[in-house]
Amino acid sequence: MAGGGDGGDGARARQHVFLLPEYFKDASKKAKSGLMIVKLVNPCTGEGAMYLFNMYLQQLFEIKVFKEKHHSWFINQSVQSGGLLHFATPMDPLFLLLHYFIKADKEGKFQPLDQVVVDDTFPNCILLLKLRELEKLLPHVTEEKEIGNKKYYKYSKEKTLKWLGKKVNQTVAALKNNNVNVSAHVQSTAFFSSCQTSNDKEEDYIRYAHGLISDYIPKELSDDLSKYLKLPETPPPLSAPPSKVAAQRRKRDK
């Protein structure tokens, strides 16, 4: 840092608190640009979001920021306002590729990968093409054709839903392992009808996992996934107006 008089805390520049995978430390000494943060599309909202590439290992990470009102850091001999905590966690690149395949699908034809992943707003998307074992991943969400050593791909909704279904299952397992409380809905139905709780439990895990996955796919696909998982179309709202609850009860009692 330019100042140097602040005891090495670099307190004059803004400090960012990050949690990074431990093995980033072993990044090669030679290359200068192996770890980089870029802005790419958020596949759910279509807006910009921050991602981290580890080019040594050809891996993609998502950066999420913890932010709560009224927090600040003391970092050694300095204060940093905001109290933000940045997480870099592994990201399945297929969610981002899917965004481009769905967009390209409007043309309805087989295309090579480098013609699908094109983005004027987020030109750094070309980094996605350098990720490891991409060709192995693509069959989860696309049909492919090989013509003269070159591969051509086309979005397959059917395969994508199957793939997302598996994602939901493995997320349900993790929710159970981590004892994540998914029971808000259980409690509310338990309040109105005591006989349904045990059946609802599994469904609540699936709905919660569906919600987590839906943060990575467009709304339309999320709705299709909901149907694929056979989740009831509109979950009972947590604060249903009394008249509606009474109506539901009457229906159930029949």
Partner: protein, 170 residues
Amino acid sequence: MDSSDERAVEKQRVHIRPDTLRDAAPGTLHLLPCEIPASRPAPVDCFFTPALRQGAHGLEASFRGRSLRGEEVTVPPGLVGYVMVMEEEGEVSGRTPYFPRAGREPEQRELAEAPEALERDFDRFMGATASFSGFTLWGLETLPGPDAKVRGALTWPSLAAAIHAQVPED
């Protein structure tokens, strides 16, 4: 990231210097239950640290006359905490300058440098100034407890691993 850093990332790549991750010295971090609007050096070891006490219900301290209760929080397994600082633009870092040097024709530049090299000219660099494996989480008058939002956030990495793990083939 604040808004100026957001802009930096907008069109550029922000590179993390890998050597700083290896060399970052352990730092001491406290997450306080109040917003301090300024970001600047502060004599933490003069005023805050000497007032820390191990009470019956966790750590005790005070800040601006208010009583705080604190507990240690560890970084989730497999992760390391880092304090990162963006290097100033124009700081000497062994990269080519942002603006093309005078006397060089644009055509010549295009010939001399591949598109990717040109892109690199817009890049910025970030380095770790400290590392940590845990920090002290402070609550106002009572312990933050297991329901503290930051504790919830710290379970995110294990959930993210499941969401983003590759699914088995049929």
